[in-house]
């Protein structure tokens, strides 16, 4: 068995510090296992959020050596032998304690999205749709709300625009509604105004960290941006709408 040193953020708010722990590690361990071993052997009061240990609940998001990761899906073998591993809480959110961040502001963003609004039923037992036309929305439904994309998004992380911008997680959610073939709600005004889609400068960090490999920028954000252009920035489309209304 080999030994490895971990530097773990301890404390609440921005005043915490990195504390070093050296533990024995086994083959096949992930970062979350190591955190649990530290908890068991050295620091029983170390706070960490987790649930499924299978990359599906999105609870264990942290930053490992400065990169947003699911700790339960990050293998120790991905790091050089002997290299210490730093585990810190998500930087874009306030820290409650140690590795646990307060993500409640993200839930408020979720609540602001205009709801899914299906067209009237096609038949008594529901709606009809083809598989090929629901695929775009299904990609968005893979989201496990881990908030790694919110964490890495520089609009939130560096510029602190939590009140003005709903962030990539909820742009994915919005795309999941809007690309659904039976949804009839127009969300472009919401996206432009309170959704703040214009704050996104499509620099793709969200896509780089998504553990579900959702093409957040290409398949959610840019299509939504184009819909906002249709409605607000395209003079020809505006003219067509005007003529149609007459």
């Amino acid at each position: 068995m080999a030994e490895r040193t971990f530097k773990v953020y301890r404390g609440s708010g921005d005043d915490g510090q990195l504390e070093s722990y050296t533990i024995e590690v086994d083959q096949g361990m992930v970062v979350l296992d190591a955190i649990h071993r530290i908890q068991a052997e050295h620091a029983p009061d170390l706070a960490v959020r987790w649930n499924c240990k299978a990359g599906k609940c999105g609870s264990c998001s942290c930053e490992v050596n400065g990169r947003p990761r699911l700790t339960c899906m990050t293998r120790l073998s991905d790091y050089e032998e002997g290299e210490s591993i730093t585990v810190t809480p998500m930087k874009a959110f306030p820290v409650i304690k140690d590795l646990v961040a307060d993500v409640s502001r993200a839930y408020r963003n979720n609540a602001s999205i205009p709801r899914f609004r299906p067209r009237p039923r096609d038949a008594e037992d529901g709606w009809r749709m083809k598989q090929f036309e629901i695929e775009r929305a299904q990609e968005m439904r893979k989201c496990i709300e881990c908030f790694l994309c919110q964490d890495v998004c520089h609009v939130l992380r560096s510029h602190g625009k939590h009140a003005e911008f709903i962030g990539p997680t909820y742009l994915v959610r919005t795309a999941g509604y809007s690309l659904n073939p039976i949804d009839v709600e127009d969300r472009s005004a919401f996206l432009k105004e309170s959704g703040g889609i214009g704050f996104c400068n499509i620099t793709k960090c969200c896509t780089e960290v998504c553990p579900e490999s959702i093409s957040i920028t290409d398949n959610a954000i840019i299509p939504l941006k184009e819909r906002v252009v249709d409605r607000f920035y395209d003079p020809v489309k505006a003219l067509v709408r005007l003529v149609r209304r007459r």
């Binding site: 009809r128 083809k130 890495v152 510029h159 214009g198 290409d218 184009e226």
Partner: protein, 260 residues
């Protein structure tokens, strides 16, 4: 214990990343600087852009009176500068508002962000693409429309590159022009705005007019779109190489080998 500052600080360049995160932005900055710089020089230079029957793609369509008569269109009299400048606005506007290039220069030049999870300047004054000038990026689709016209001329010029004084033939330059056209087309076909307009804006394909055909078209464009970055780079580099090739032939540095 390490100080808390390094962990939660949001200042420029602050990160706990240990990899060489600065390599990609520096490479992109150099690459864009080099090829963007060459293209700008070539456009402003105004000479050696035609080696019969090849016209440099940076000068296509050639619409000023100063253009060689074999390829001259319109023949605008009052234009005293390099004829390429007339079309530069469209090309620059198209590439400059392209979703891929936006990402590239926001990261490499504006450092906004320099790399993922790396701190940056500007704090809460950041406005993204919500205000002037960046809100104008929303006009990308208009540059897409304008570039269709340029593409048509480019196709014409490429065909022209196969017709020599003695009739049809193939020179190395003809092939170079053809590859250039293919790369530019690949870039164009992966455009995000095209992807939206051709079918991405449809929610319900089985309800929309020609919905199935539009879904197919959308799928096709999506294939190119997935590789848009690659096409963007290859087409940029190759358009410069094509110009350079024709320039060297026009300057008689070497002869264009005729294949048949």
């Amino acid at each position: 214990m390490e100080s808390s500052v390094a962990v939660r600080d949001r200042g420029f360049g602050k990160t706990l990343r240990r990899d060489r995160w600065w390599v990609p932005p520096v490479s992109v900055a150099l690459g864009l600087g080099l090829f963007g710089g060459y293209a700008t020089w070539a456009v402003l230079q105004g000479g050696n852009y035609f080696a019969d029957p090849y016209l440099s793609p940076l000068y296509s369509p050639c619409i000023a009176a100063s253009c060689p008569e074999q390829i001259r269109l319109l023949g605008i009299e009052w234009w005293p500068f390099s004829p390429a400048i007339l079309m530069m606005g469209v090309i620059l506007g198209f590439r400059g508002t392209c979703y891929y290039y936006r990402k590239a220069y926001y990261r490499a030049y504006l450092l906004d962000p320099p790399a993922c999870a790396v701190g940056e300047f500007r704090g809460d004054r950041y406005a993204g693409e919500t205000r002037l000038p960046w809100v104008l990026q929303n006009l990308h689709r208009y540059f897409l429309y304008a570039s269709i016209v340029i593409w048509l001329f480019l196709t014409y010029d490429t065909i022209h590159g196969f017709f020599f004084e003695d009739g049809f033939g193939v020179g190395v330059g003809s092939i170079v022009l053809l590859i250039n056209l293919v790369l530019l087309s690949g870039y164009w076909f992966g455009c995000h705005s095209l992807r939206h307009l051709i079918g991405g804006d449809v929610d319900c394909y089985s309800c929309a007019l020609a919905g199935k055909a539009r879904h197919k078209a959308w799928k096709g464009v999506s294939w190119f779109n997935k590789r848009h970055m690659g096409w963007a780079w290859f087409s940029l580099v190759f358009v410069c190489m094509t110009d350079l090739y024709i320039r060297l032939v026009a300057m008689r540095v070497f002869e264009d080998p005729r294949l048949f």
